[in-house]
Subunit: 229 residues, 2 copies
């Protein structure tokens, strides 16, 4: 896979996948690009461009075959062989994530958790063995783990990221509010819950103050994240 796929394309493909699964469960068998676009709140041209990376094309008369499109997206985006992940930090958020991700993708498995709290070592947490963070390099290398989730306090996040990267992890989902420094080639995606909540609260206040008329149902906000390397 020499060609580079833009980060947002992957995000949209998984969104289309979700919408297509809903349509299939409603008994639908085909969809036009403009219908898919409307549900994903992007343009039809964007949908067609994104789906081109799959090498799958619909027919002008009947649109895309939903089941085939689901298969193509799964083959492209989801791991076709088992891919392993580890989570550092099993506090409230970490524990909720462990439970959230269990069984969500057949080939993407969180196989271990890491902690600094000795009371949690060598226990199973949400069906996942918990190790000392000091054993992380061994655990990651022996199990061929390539994805790491960081759910530790902010001040420990860079320390964990360094361990992750040194041990061979190439993708990090970071819940700490820390701008991680990682080498080129390692992908980091940040989820900053506090910042998101601050923004929502701010714009709720701004909306109340401006008291704009709520006139139509179209001007909603796109579910969209951008990461650039």
């Amino acid at each position: 896979m020499a060609e580079v796929v833009p980060h947002r394309t992957i995000g949209r493909l998984t969104l289309y996948w979700r919408i297509l699964r809903d349509l299939a469960s409603e008994g639908k068998s085909s969809v036009y690009s403009h219908d898919l676009a409307s549900k994903a709140r992007v343009t039809a041209a964007q949908v067609r461009r994104d789906l081109m990376v799959l090498g799958y094309f619909g027919t002008p008369a009947r649109g895309y075959d939903i089941n085939k499109l689901i298969e193509h997206i799964e083959a492209f985006v989801f791991p076709t062989e088992e891919q392993r992940a580890v989570i550092a930090g099993v506090g409230n958020i970490g524990r909720a994530l462990l439970k959230f991700f269990v069984g969500r993708r057949p080939n993407l498995k969180i196989v271990a958790s890491l902690e600094t709290n000795p009371e949690k070592f060598d226990r199973m947490i949400q069906g996942c063995p918990c190790h000392s963070i000091e054993d992380a390099p061994k655990v990651i290398r022996e199990q061929g783990i390539t994805v790491g989730i960081i759910a530790v306090p902010d001040k420990e996040a860079q320390y964990v990221a360094d361990i992750f990267v040194d041990a061979g992890i190439r993708g990090i989902l970071n819940f700490a509010r820390t701008a991680l420094h990682v080498p080129a080639g390692v992908y980091v995606e940040d989820i900053d819950l506090a910042m998101s909540m601050d923004r929502v609260a701010f714009f709720a206040r701004q909306s109340l103050k401006s008291e704009r008329p709520m006139s139509d149902k179209t001007n909603s906000v796109e579910p969209s994240k951008e990461s650039y390397s």
Copy 2:
């Protein structure tokens, strides 16, 4: 507050706030825009532009006074009076969020949770009374709640969003993978955990396949989210 502040500016201001608090706790009293920019991984010009909305300016010789800047950001971004939030859905993620947000901002309080599961009604969950979703309009209106968090299953999200909006909520933090339709003036921010994890896993595989040399420590990925209305 007639002027409209771009969504990403608010995100960056809270990021600066976080960095400034770290600097203050290290005993520092002033910071130059380029130092702040480097830590936030944006340009110094961007920092100066963002801080201009606060009406606070540093001096060229000594930069910004850290404590004053913290105060200015807090006065601008955080609620100066109590602002109330509600969370719908107290499963694993909802419960973790309740605990995560408790006491994080003095004036931003989650005062109630909502559920469809009768076993959870009228109980305190993480110090927060849990009500039936059917009582949501009453709870939201009586308590003057303006912020709603959606942590319910995907298929129930639009139903909850409609209740929220009708009852007067103007900002929604949405953890369901559903493109919510809301009236103009209601701000929605989506956090899609599954999509983020899919992306991280995909780029980890892509990175391994391309086997790029890991030559420097600078080309990391920006913690950045974009929402457009």
